[in-house]
C-alpha cells in the first residue's frame, strides 16, 4: 500500500505518521519503502496505524512484543503533539471567540475558565507521566534485559509498582467530553458558528487520539512492565 492511500483512507492519521517522523511530500512511495528509508520499525508502525484507524483492531499481544523504549518513544511524541499543537490550537480558537464576542462576556469567562482547568489537568497528567512513569518503565526494561538491578530501582519497584499507576490512571478524557457537550448543548447559540464548529472538530479529534493513547498505555505498556517487575522480583526472591 502506498503511504498516500493510507492518508486517503483516514486523514486523522496525519498527526500519527508525523510522530514517526513522516512529513508531507512523501511522493508515491509505499509504506514499506518509506519506513525503510526513515528507519521506522515497519511492524510497529503498521500495528499502531491500524489500531488507530480501526477501534476494533487491537493486537495487544503483538504490540507487547515491541520494546518499552519503542512504545514510550511513540507515546512521548504524542504527548508533545498534544501540548504543543492540539491544546494551543484549541486555546487560540477560544481566544478568537473572545475577540469576536461570539458569546456574551460572562459566558466567555465561564468557557475560558473551564478550558483552563482542562489545560492544567492534561498538562499535569502529561508532566507526571514524562517525569515519573515513562522513565520508570524504561528503567525496569533496562534492568530486566541486562540483569542489572540496583537497590534504588528494587526499592522503587516494591513501592511503586506499575500496577498502582494503572489504578490511579486518571481519566483526562472526561473533562474533554464535558467541554464538547457544553459547547454543543449548553452555551447559547454563538455569534460566530464557524469558530465553535472548528473548536468542536478539534475536540473530537483530540478525544479520539487520547483514547487511542490511553489504550496503548493501559493495555500494552503497563501490563508489559508489570510482567517484567514480577519476573525480576521473583528472580531476586529465589536468589536471596
Amino acid at each position: 500500500m502506498k503511504m498516500v492511500d493510507v492518508i486517503h483512507l483516514n486523514y486523522l492519521l496525519l498527526p500519527v505518521i508525523n510522530r514517526f517522523g513522516i512529513t508531507l511530500g512523501f511522493g508515491d512511495v509505499s509504506v514499506e519503502e518509506l519506513c525503510l528509508k526513515k528507519n521506522i520499525n515497519l511492524a510497529f508502525f503498521l500495528n499502531i496505524i491500524n489500531a488507530y484507524h480501526d477501534e476494533s483492531f487491537f493486537p495487544k499481544t503483538d504490540l507487547q512484543k515491541f520494546s518499552v523504549k519503542l512504545i514510550v518513544d511513540y507515546l512521548q511524541k504524542a504527548h508533545k503533539n498534544y501540548l504543543h499543537d492540539s491544546v494551543p490550537q484549541i486555546e487560540k480558537l477560544i481566544q478568537n471567540l473572545v475577540v469576536e464576542n461570539s458569546y456574551k462576556k460572562q459566558n466567555l469567562e465561564i468557557l475560558q475558565s473551564f478550558f483552563n482547568e482542562y489545560k492544567n489537568e492534561i498538562t499535569e497528567h502529561i508532566n507526571r507521566e514524562e517525569s515519573k512513569v515513562y522513565p520508570y518503565a524504561v528503567q525496569v526494561e533496562n534492568a530486566y534485559e541486562t540483569n542489572n538491578y540496583n537497590n534504588a530501582l528494587i526499592k522503587k519497584m516494591e513501592n511503586y509498582s506499575m500496577q498502582y499507576y494503572l489504578n490511579e490512571h486518571d481519566n483526562i478524557e472526561e473533562k474533554l467530553f464535558d467541554l464538547k457537550n457544553i459547547i454543543i448543548k449548553y452555551l447559547p447559540p454563538p455569534k460566530n458558528t464557524k469558530i465553535s464548529n472548528s473548536i468542536l472538530i478539534q475536540l473530537f479529534n483530540l478525544e479520539k487520539d487520547l483514547n487511542d493513547h490511553s489504550r496503548i498505555e493501559e493495555k500494552v505498556m503497563i501490563p508489559k512492565v508489570v510482567k517484567m517487575e514480577k519476573s525480576i522480583l521473583n528472580y531476586l526472591a529465589k536468589n536471596k
Binding site: N107, I110, E174, K175, N181, I182, K185, Y186, L187
Partner: protein, 198 residues
C-alpha cells in the same frame, strides 16, 4: 422520518414470532401490525393493511404458490424471507432480502436493520429534562458540597444523592463536577458570587 415502519410477521412457530417481535421492537420506528401463522392469512393481512414489509418464513410456501409471489398482493409490499433450512433459490430471488434466522443475535440485528433500511440517525423518545429535585442536586454540586452535605441539605439519603447524580450525568452527558458547575451557571441554577461565598 417520524412515520413508523409497518410490518407483518408470518411464521408457523409461535416461539419464532415472539422472538422476532422482541428483536424488532428494540428498534424504534417499528410497528408490528399483524402476526400470521400461515401464508393465506399473511396475504389477506397484507392486502388489507398495506404494510411496508412482510417478513415471512420461506417454509410457509409450497411449489405452487411460490411461483410468482407478487401476484398474491394488491400493493407494493417488500418481502423479507427468513429461513432456518436452505431456502429455494426462486423464493430468494423474489425477495427484497433473505435472512438466516439461525445466525447469532448481532448478525440478526445487523441483517434486519439492513433489510428494513433503518437509518442510523433516528428520533428516539428520550427525556433529558432535569426534575426539580435533580436541579436542586446540581445546584448543590456546583456549590461544592459533598454527597453527605447534599443529603443533609435536601433531607434525603446519600444513597439517593448518588442515584440522582447518576441520572443527572446520564441526562446531561456531563461527567465532571466542573462541567456540572458550568451547566448550573449557564442555566442560572447558581451564580458566581454564591459559589465564591460558599
Amino acid at each position: 422520518m417520524t412515520h413508523k415502519i409497518k410490518i407483518i410477521l408470518a411464521d408457523r412457530s409461535p416461539i419464532i414470532l415472539k422472538g422476532l417481535k422482541n428483536l424488532l421492537n428494540d428498534f424504534s420506528l417499528i410497528d408490528i401490525i399483524k402476526e400470521a401463522d400461515n401464508w393465506e392469512f399473511a396475504v389477506r393481512s397484507v392486502n388489507k393493511n398495506t404494510p411496508d414489509y412482510l417478513i415471512f418464513n420461506s417454509n410457509l410456501l409450497n411449489n405452487s404458490n411460490s411461483k410468482k409471489l407478487s401476484s398474491h398482493f394488491n400493493n407494493k409490499v417488500k418481502l423479507i424471507s427468513i429461513y432456518n433450512v436452505p431456502i429455494p433459490e426462486n423464493i430468494k430471488a423474489q425477495c427484497f432480502y433473505s435472512i438466516n434466522i439461525n445466525s447469532n443475535e448481532e448478525e440478526l440485528i445487523k441483517n434486519f436493520k439492513h433489510a428494513l433500511e433503518i437509518p442510523k440517525i433516528i428520533i428516539k423518545k428520550e427525556s433529558s429534562e432535569l426534575s426539580n429535585r435533580e436541579k436542586a442536586v446540581v445546584r448543590c454540586i456546583a456549590l461544592g458540597m459533598t454527597n453527605k452535605e447534599i443529603a443533609d441539605t435536601l433531607f434525603i439519603s446519600t444513597h439517593t444523592v448518588i442515584a440522582h447524580r447518576k441520572n443527572i450525568t446520564k441526562k446531561l452527558a456531563i461527567k465532571t463536577v466542573s462541567g456540572l458547575t458550568v451547566y448550573a451557571l449557564l442555566n442560572e441554577l447558581v451564580n458566581t458570587t454564591e459559589i465564591e461565598q460558599y
